[in-house]
Symmetry: C4
Subunit: 346 residues, 4 copies
């Protein structure tokens, strides 16, 4: 892929290269895929109010998440099974994140182990399902701590798996789960794996249990209401991650960006807010930040870039996002992240 | 039809198999078919607010209608002339409903008699027009009672027949009316039959008359305003069925799902509320229930499934709807029907 | 044209038969034709609230306009140059109106004279421009009185001609003006004719002058605001006709149906209200009446029907409109015109 | 181009003639080009409230800008590098403006010098960037004064260049900068030139500095909020120009026409308001004036017309805009510019 101009270029290129089954697995959403498209469309519907004649000569994109410095308030969201997209698998994306100075969130369902991912260095968080087997869950937490992961990202929107019809038709690709000893080496389907990994019984009590097992700060990912955001912080969450699982769980959920303000207001500063879903532009990042998110995460775009050119591809995508964000901040009259205000978004 | 994934699969398959005249009769709506499409579109426009971390391990889809238990709050709406779609006619759909533990509503214009339908067992209601000949009307009620039907569903949105232009162009298929002795065996057109079956003079007084003839509870089907819903309960209706006759009567009526809340509020618990029109997903059912409907009925989708594979087809369609509903309830954080709240729908 | 089902059938048929220049003249609107399409679309966006269980066995479509009985509250709007569409020209449409018991409004720019049109009988009104030559204007009024026309319809939205780009490209068809002695027999273009017929200087004073010349009631056609409607009645108008000249004068005006309620409210019963623009269905007529119009006028649809089959074509179109209106009233639970209430339209 | 009917005709004709790279440079916008299209669409969404029976026989389109008479409240916005479109370059457009009696705004990045442009006569303003080199900036101001330019138009929405992806893909055409001695004769790309011309450090203090260097009135161009409009007047601006740089700077800004009322209200008469962006019709001009703009500027349409036929082309385009505006004012019942009221636009 020569001279990509924006993140859609990676998408176009990757679509032409991926196996149809893998592409369906990557691009599909639940049911009618209303939410899948709404995530992107909602960003395009936002209108901005720029301010002029502010010194924007020294754009400062640095920020912090959970007390740690990051170079750009952008992160790589947890996505499973990177080996489907590139031979270097998760290591490629993790290295690109580390080089860019942004957080990488490893998935429980990664195709290489969390310890291997840790070789990339950089700020890493560990995504977690509270599995039916709590002993295995706790063991995973301990491994994450040992490998230097700095926070847990607990997915709470998946008590059962959403109905992803592309996968129901084509089958999901064969998977490998390096983090999970109990899953056989030859792999199994996503649906089979999910039956072990996810637990429809989990409640806020299980969050309390998890909190009791570790001193790592934890983030609850998959919250879409102010009410649940408040509960999250009452149960000790350090941050709330607004997500609808990329439109892969329940369809007709609102776009994530449309729920950020409600969650930010409900938290009133008691915890950080993150968001993913439909982010394709540095301008989307600016909108998320202006609405009160502290960090904006990328999912599918990273996998498109990974498909195109491994670590180099992801690094190139991150550079574009950063350049677009810097440009947007300058043109909004907001040289620092803190200058992005909610009143700039209509 | 192998491995249907959703109800649209039945529709696609059936469209390829049905005679054009029958297909036009099945799919057509009144005038410009605005309401026909609006019924489906309004469901797709709804946005949901899911709650997380609730124990959804034991989904309970059971409910009751008019005091009788049902396995899933879904029913089969009355539709005429099933013999056009499958040789087993109404018996196929009625058997599938009985097996699924959900109510089946027989049509006055069924192609086999209500007594034959009764052989299917299960919870059955009888759809009724107050015919110009009140003696025949009363006789039909008595037959329904004798055959074990548990409620009357009185269609009130058809004082005259809507202008279904597909039928005006292609003609409606030849029909047989097993319930109606006075209609000749060789059949007549829908328009001809309608002239006998429907009566433009009926008013609330006729509802009072009907009430006086039977102790069966009755439902008024085809109500689209809170005002008429209130009148219905004042005239003894046990339930109000929000319907626009699948867009086949008057065009430019709102989508039925958009009128449910008004009707529920007007009734304030004095009678049950049902809805049909545009339901294609278990998620649509969840939305109807959340807005206050007690049961959500399927019309055309049943006929598509019937066309594909008779009783087996209808049973398969009902299993999909049930699976989709269970999935939606789990992902909304509503393990029981009563947990579906209006605040979950925007 | 065999068995037309709706008014679009006439349109489709006529489009295939008309000379491109004539078709452009008939179908075109001003500038970007936003208003042209908006007139129709606004009707399709309306949503209705039907009432049930009212005796609709004897639909009564009769009404009055300016004190005279009409069989259906529908009329034929003034349109110019019927000879372009059928050899029988205005006589065909006037005869069809007379047979149907509805008002026909003759155009100053008719291709046969107002006296010839009068041979059709029926209720006739005369459309008038206040021409630059007031003597000719007054003469036309006197001729209309002599020929039994019962009201004047003064067009007030044409101080200058709108920019109809289809005509600017193709040229307008050659015209004949039987009412206007001073225009040469061999005809001239619409733009040339307009220069004589319309006067950019006219004000409310000229309405007062017109009123002083005749005892005929007059209607002001082309009013789109409540403020001008009030002025109209203060200057003696018996009725206000909400019109945007079929989208042919100024583009980006609202749909006429969207201005009816404002005009009705401003008049508060002091004068009758009529509307034209985008009417294609008897259901559109019902909407206009429910919003407070006393009569709903048809323009282009009459010319499509005229093209198809002269008087017979227009009669057939009027029968369809009447049947659709009767059907809509029955299904709205409004057996009489007066039963159509504003609350039925959302 | 024979007999152009509207400004789209010039666009269509020019598109077929221009080199793809030049066309991309002309037509492109920033990022997803949402704002580019929104500028035009917002005008088409406006709905008008016309008044009737006002004497519109003597339309008066004259107005003033900054105290100087203009024949029509329309102007030519600053655009760079006219030599790409016609051999006569800026002189052609400036002559057409002078003949039409409307203001021409020369660009700092013009392909002929501001002194050469001055030969066209007429009312001229000079567009200015506050360059990194303040001495060069001041020298340009002095040259403008000497050459009879009557106001400065300071572009404030370009502290950095927007991401115009068409140019990023195709490269921007080679440019020549006759006003800028320090840029080499063989030209450089837009991006290179921009690095010298624009300064990301400029703030309101620099506006104060500019004000101290000259007695010319100045206009701030590129303001999109009432808050910045107020600051502009507090810092001495004689007028505020609502612009989003034709959608070329930051995407997802609102349409300019949608921000005019807010700016007008914030200024409350303390300074004049201008607007550009998406203007394609005299009717658009009328809308801008009704919302409170004192003059409405054309950008790309002038370049399309220039491409088609040089000065003659631009003159023809201006005649069409004037004719459309006069027609719109007559049909709105607003014979003078001051009769265009905000209440006419919804």
């Amino acid at each position: 892929l020569d001279n990509p101009v924006n993140l859609y270029d990676f998408q176009t290129h990757a679509r032409a290269r991926l196996d149809p089954q893998v592409l369906a697995y990557l691009e599909g959403g639940a049911l009618d895929e209303v939410t899948l498209h709404e995530n992107e469309q909602a960003f395009l519907r936002k209108r901005l109010r720029p301010r002029v004649l502010r010194d924007v000569s020294t754009p400062d994109l640095t920020s912090t998440v959970l007390g740690r410095s990051i170079a750009v308030p952008v992160g790589i969201a947890p996505t499973a099974q990177h080996h489907l997209f590139h031979a270097d698998a998760e290591l490629a994306a993790a290295r690109a994140a580390a080089s860019a100075g942004i957080p990488f969130v490893g998935s429980t369902m990664s195709s290489i182990s969390l310890e291997e991912i840790a070789q990339a260095g950089g700020l890493r968080w560990m995504q977690l399902y509270i599995q039916q087997d709590r002993v295995l869950t706790e063991k995973l937490v301990q491994r994450a701590v040992a490998a230097g992961y700095k926070a847990l990202v607990v997915t709470v929107d998946t008590p059962v798996l959403g109905r992803r019809e592309r996968d129901l038709r084509l089958g999901s690709p064969r998977q490998t789960y390096a983090n999970l000893d109990d899953i056989s080496a030859e792999g199994e389907t996503l649906a089979d794996a999910a039956k072990r990994l996810i637990d429809p019984r989990i409640t806020w009590d299980d969050i309390d249990w998890l909190r009791s097992t570790t001193s790592l700060p934890f983030v609850l990912k998959g919250i879409m209401t102010g009410a649940d955001a408040s509960l999250a912080v009452e149960h000790g969450a350090a941050a709330v991650w607004v997500s609808n699982h990329g439109g892969r769980q329940l369809d007709r959920l609102p776009a994530t960006i449309d729920m950020v303000a409600e969650v930010v207001d409900a938290l009133a500063g008691r915890a950080e807010v993150y968001v993913d879903g439909g982010v394709r532009r540095g301008l989307d990042v600016a909108i998320g930040l202006a609405l009160g998110a502290r960090c904006v995460f990328l999912g599918r775009p990273i996998l498109y870039a990974l498909t195109c050119d491994g670590e180099r591809g992801v690094a190139a995508a991150l550079r574009i996002i950063e350049a677009e964000l810097a440009n947007a901040m300058a043109l909004l009259g907001a040289p620092r992240v803190a200058d992005l205000e909610r009143s700039m978004v209509v």
